[in-house]
């Protein structure tokens, strides 16, 4: 990853690739899965990295949109996206055969500590998006994975098939109890942390959830990685719009992250993008 912080480090260039939509389907309430033919990005993307997508030209919104790569294989990448504003609405309208362009792979993804035997993944809502490639990678590496997956309601649970295919154990929670446990995903996450004694915890979801998981992991003495969302203009480290306050100073989510060591993050200084 190139970052001015690493101005003298060896550079792994991101690519600007013209891609074609292969499929674009609704997979849960308000959630779509878009598959792109992106051979060059697909060949290099690592779990937890993201792409910066130019969804439309000539639209009244200008900026790219950052999306984690959910799954990658062969010449294909897949993105799981929640429809929120004009960008994701336009994304949902893109049809197979249409072209767009992506910058990627971007950012630092998840790391698997040497010798880890057991991992806990905690995903809230679309927090499951950057964990698809991760759970598959863990399976490849022979690391046993437990997953705590939460959503507001049954119809909004995503990526269950991927987790079930690769994890040893998947526990569900919904805010309304329509699937799995009734309540927040932090409850089963805490239990799994105690029961399974993982060597590493990965968390992605609303920042309050990540923070709660980070605290539980810290209390249990288990290393924890979190993937943070920030508003991003350039996506490549140049504009400083995506800063995260850490113990080692201000970092850029787009290239120093989005995955950070949870104990590095100064949670109080960080801010979640407004959401309604």
């Amino acid at each position: 990853m190139i970052c001015a912080g690493d101005i003298s480090a060896s550079i792994e260039h991101p690519l600007l690739e013209r891609v074609t939509v292969l499929a674009n389907d609704r997979v849960a309430t308000g959630v779509g899965l878009i598959a792109l033919h992106a051979p060059r990005v697909a060949a290099r993307i690592e779990p937890g990295q993201f792409v910066h997508l130019r969804i439309a030209r000539g639209s009244s919104f200008l900026l790219r949109r950052p999306f984690s790569v959910h799954l990658a294989g062969g010449e294909r990448i897949e993105i799981l996206y929640q429809v929120l504003g004009e960008g994701t609405r336009a994304l949902a309208a893109r049809a197979p055969g249409e072209e767009m362009d992506v910058i990627g792979p971007l950012g630092r993804g998840w790391t698997v500590p040497d010798g880890a035997a057991h991992a806990l993944l905690v995903a809230g809502g679309l927090g499951a998006a950057p964990m698809g490639m991760l759970v598959a990678r863990l399976a490849d590496l022979g690391v046993a994975a437990s997953v705590a997956l939460g959503a507001p309601t049954k119809e909004r649970l995503v990526a269950l098939d991927v987790f079930e295919a690769h994890a040893r154990r998947v526990v569900l929670a919904t805010d309304d109890g329509s699937a799995g446990e009734h309540g927040f995903v932090t409850a089963p996450a805490g239990r799994l942390l105690a029961e399974d004694r993982p060597d590493v915890v990965y968390a992605c979801g609303p920042e309050v959830m990540e923070r709660a998981v980070a605290r539980m992991a810290a209390d249990a003495g288990v290393p924890c990685q979190v993937s943070l969302e920030r508003l991003m203009a350039c996506g490549i480290g140049a504009c400083l719009s995506c800063v995260v306050a850490t113990r080692s100073g201000q970092k850029r989510a787009c290239c120093d992250g989005p995955v950070f060591d949870a104990k590095e993050v100064l949670w109080d200084a960080s801010e979640v993008p407004p959401r309604h």
Partner: protein, 336 residues
């Protein structure tokens, strides 16, 4: 650091490892002839009229995968201050119709780190380097300029008296003739390098400010910096930026930028560097017709990291289509 003279503008020709600017400066096409893209601004010869806009390109390192710095007319760096600045709280950007707001707040590591890290890297490339200078006070501008004046790898300084994103200093200096004049006079006294003053559009009469800085020895003016704006998230009842207000950039502001470039270029004798919403070569041509000698590309880099190159290509295509031999002929060529 004492003022240096003569001005340090022929660095490129001294460094053996670099190719002269003429190598890439013209494009030949047998059918329509050659387009000479070279322009001269504030005494620096640029191989083409397209620069990066300060703060949107960092020091070029992050864009190197997409744009080889030596392809640019000049590389303008992010603003640098004397000490490190932390910048503003997050969120720092918000999207608006055909534009964006930013309130980065001139986060930078301070001039010493900049010189040791960014400038060292930039010196490996054959490109005129323009360093953008920030300050909370006249004294800070002077101190930064003085420090930068000592560096050979710098071709010009751009003094930003127009940043809407800092509380002290910044734009305050650019919205009043006498303080704009004072900053210019004071930094002029400590550097022999070409001096560009970057103007704020948040004023009643930008031509008046331009004349004031010209009178104090600015070699060029660049404009526009961002328009002060605000975005609100109705559903949370809160401003979208942590700092409430920020600077508006992108195509939304192009009409205002073009108008100001046109006004200023008719009011001053020094060259004008035009910017504000340039996305294409045709946009750049419009700024030149309005009176700009060179242009800078900002927000467009975020949309397309190769934007600067596309703009250069677009200027070439335009000149060919219209049988224009030298891009510099475009400057001020607007017809009544």
């Amino acid at each position: 650091m004492p003022p240096k003279s003569p001005r340090d503008t022929d660095r490129h020709h001294e460094q053996g490892s670099r190719t002269g600017p003429d190598v890439e400066s013209s494009v030949t096409d047998n059918q329509t002839g050659t387009v000479d893209l070279r322009v001269k601004v504030a005494g620096i010869e640029l191989r083409n009229p397209v620069m990066s806009a300060s703060g949107t390109f960092a020091s070029g390192f992050e864009y190197a995968a997409f744009v080889e710095p030596s392809r640019l007319g000049a590389l303008v760096t992010k603003g640098v201050s004397l000490e490190p600045w932390a910048g503003n709280a997050s969120p720092r950007i918000a999207e608006t119709a055909s534009g964006m707001l930013n309130s980065i707040g001139l986060q930078n590591p301070g001039v010493e780190v900049f010189i040791a890290r960014d400038l060292a890297w930039l010196s490996t490339w054959d490109v005129p380097v323009v360093v953008n200078v920030s300050g909370h006070s006249v004294e800070e501008y002077v101190a930064v300029v003085e420090r930068l004046d000592a560096e050979v790898g710098i071709d010009a300084l751009e003094v930003n008296i127009s940043c809407p994103n800092v509380d002290a200093g910044g734009m305050a200096f650019g919205t009043d003739c006498s303080s704009a004049a004072e900053v210019t006079r004071r930094v002029r006294a400590v550097t022999g390098k070409p001096l560009i003053v970057k103007l704020s559009p948040n004023v009643t009469d930008i031509a008046e400010i331009a004349r004031a800085v010209e009178a104090e020895g600015a070699d060029a003016v660049s404009l526009i910096n961002t328009l002060l704006g605000m975005a609100i998230d109705a559903h949370s009842f809160k401003p979208k930026l942590a700092r409430a207000v920020g600077g508006l950039s992108g195509p939304a502001i192009k009409p205002v930028a073009l108008r100001m470039v046109w006004q200023v270029s008719r009011a001053v004798g020094i060259p004008v560097i035009g910017m504000g919403g340039i996305m294409t070569g045709e946009d750049a041509v419009e700024f030149m017709l309005a009176g700009a000698s060179a242009v800078a590309v900002g927000t467009a880099n975020f949309v397309d990291p190769t934007a600067t190159l596309r703009v250069i290509d677009g200027i070439v295509a335009f000149c060919r289509e219209h049988g224009i031999a030298r891009a510099s002929e475009l400057t001020g060529a607007l017809r009544g």
